[in-house]
Amino acid sequence: MESKGAVLTGEHFISGNEACAEGALAAGCRFFAGYPITPSTEVAEHMAERLPEVGGTFIQMEDELASMNAILGAAWAGAKTMSATSGPGFSLMMENLGLGIMTETPCVLVNIQRGGPSTGLPTLVGQGDMMQARWGSHGPYEIIALSPSSPQEIFDLTIKAFNLSEQFRIPVLIMSDEVVGHMTEKVIIPPADDIKLTPRRTPKVSPEKYLPYDPDEDLVPAMALAGQGYKMHVTGLTHDRKGYPVITEEAQIELVQRLIDKIRKNRDKIIEYHEDQCEGADVIVCSYGISARTSLLPIQLAREEGLKVGLFKPIVVWPFPEERIGQLAAGVKAFVVPEINYGQISLEVERCAHGKAEVIQVPHAGGGIHDPAKVLEAIRRAAK
């Protein structure tokens, strides 16, 4: 049988969903568990074809609860793992996303967002799950979420997601959307040697000395894998450094504080954004995913009218680049935030602007992308 490699170096004309799957394979993902749901199904279908070619495993599960659990289980067995879903499935995964956070399990979860709430618009675009990504599971936690605007970006960011998940031992979310998922464009896959991968941090001490939740200096503990000879107890209960359940306030403070701090104190290593002409701008359009892309035309038109407009695109949405937004707020009249929901990231921009700049929402219910005229009108209003 002719076997294709894991990294298909070269130029391709593929959809965002296929690019996501190829990014995962290039990042070393060898286990995918999923459940069909529009508009993410092509990720699973592509993985079903490709994983057996590279010695990996594809499992279709009976629902999204099981899918999320399966990728956690396989991650503990030592694999790099991923699942992909959309709105209703993302909702079902929330409990076990929390389990992944609590057990510090590296894995990647892709949400190809569609219109909601509920079954909503299975085949049409939405960006309504951004706050769910941040707060959807119960309890206090920090999360990492990335937002791609094109098939090339979803390829690149899927690799980045795997690297961040290994570096910080946390489920990393790719918050894409239906338009990016179904858009077909040129995607360049680099040579395998040019793709930097973060390996799993396995224990450096002997099994006798190993404490599964004893963190390194960066607050992230090393992770022993099934079969390596280390004794493990993995639990969603609050646990001590040995991994055993301890139901006390002290244990909760020690563990949860570290889960929060390992992201907050490492923000500089995680946060990434793209800026275009933000220095000296009067108005900054802050947008992400497909909405950042549809904002390019109104920004160009506004510049032709002589307005000083910048683009700020968070690539890592969570943790949010609050310091940078705070700095930029001091120099601009207003932020314009187009997003396909009724105000989610715009609330973050408002919070981080500390009242120094106005924040103008350009909401959209979903089912389509923004009319450039509406964004342009908001930019004009902001510039006044």
Partner: protein, 312 residues
């Protein structure tokens, strides 16, 4: 027992103009069921082909009250409706004698919906749950389900040069439901209208949960010509892949014994998803599928009442 003439004279409660594919088995099954049920029903429907094709805004193909749930919970939604009805009836606020029917595809029944179904069966709600089983997630473009037969091609268990389609046998959901000990459980098929409508009458007359598992051929997923749906349905029964039987108060009864059990290949041959069975090297796979059909059929025969001879 309604005659064909009688049924044909009744008002269709699932109207034409819906968007189901040409040759779809599902809609004729639902029409037959509603002809028996009549107007005093409330229909719940899981996310799936039936919901998507019959309710595209601003149209509805339903002439009865209709509620769409999420994917996994139609049995729970209808549990709520039926419970509220019982309460309202007890309070004297509703006088009508109502029936409640939940429809789900195999994805929404065998897999993601089985928890809600099992709960509803155990609680004993007076509802009929109908699974229209097209043997894969057809609404999202043919991914494998717990109902997909052994070695069938789907987009998530494709037939490749090494792995030939689904590696597992289909789940025996009818037996799983029967194990709940509910009053009436049956397997049916849209091509056997009298058998199907009789089973619907029985299912709607029992005091408690009832369940029908109805094989529903899918032109796109099974890959056969649109005018062969009835023929393909019949072959599923005649090959004993899909036996027609009922479990009535715990008693297993085969309701149609094929005059001559045909080889499974007669059912698989017209279907593109089994094409590899009928190409060089496919014999062993077909034989394995046949062996499982034989095993299940023999088991069913062994636990069923002896079929009555004509005239008895």
């Amino acid at each position: 027992m309604a005659t064909l003439k009688d049924l044909a004279s009744r008002e269709d409660l699932l109207t034409g103009g819906h968007r189901a594919c040409a040759g779809c088995g599902m809609t004729s099954i639902v029409r037959q069921i509603l002809l028996v049920a009549g107007k005093n029903v409330v229909v719940g429907c899981a996310t799936g082909c039936l919901e998507v094709t019959t309710t595209i805004f601003p149209y509805s193909a339903w002439r009865v009250p209709f509620i769409h749930s999420a994917f996994e919970n139609v049995a729970a939604t209808v549990s709520g409706i039926e419970t509220a009805y019982r309460s309202l009836r007890k309070q004297g606020k509703i006088q009508e004698d109502m029936r409640f029917i939940a429809f789900g595809g195999d994805g929404g029944t065998y897999d993601i919906g089985i928890q809600a179904l099992s709960g509803a069966l155990e609680r004993g709600h007076k509802m009929l749950y109908v699974c229209y089983d097209n043997e894969a997630y057809m609404n999202t473009g043919n991914q494998r389900s717990g109902a997909t037969p052994f070695s069938a091609h789907t987009s998530t268990c494709p037939v490749g040069s090494v792995i030939k389609g689904k590696q597992q046998f289909n789940k025996d959901l009818t037996s799983i439901v029967a194990a709940h000990g509910v009053p009436y459980v049956a397997q049916a098929n849209g091509a056997f209208w009298k058998d199907l409508t009789t089973k619907v009458e029985k299912a709607l007359s029992v005091d408690g949960p009832s369940f029908l598992n109805v094989l529903s051929p899918c032109v796109l997923g099974w890959k056969y010509p649109t005018d062969e749906t009835v023929e393909i349905s019949k072959l599923a029964v005649d090959t004993c892949f899909w036996p027609l039987y009922e479990v009535d108060e715990g008693v297993y009864r085969i309701t149609h014994v094929p005059p001559k059990k045909k080889p499974l290949g007669e059912w698989t041959k017209p279907q593109g998803r089994f094409r590899h069975f009928h190409q060089p090297g496919g014999e062993a796979l077909l034989a394995r599928a046949q062996a499982e059909v034989d095993r299940r059929w023999e088991k069913l025969l062994s636990i069923s009442e002896k079929p009555r001879k004509p005239g008895q």
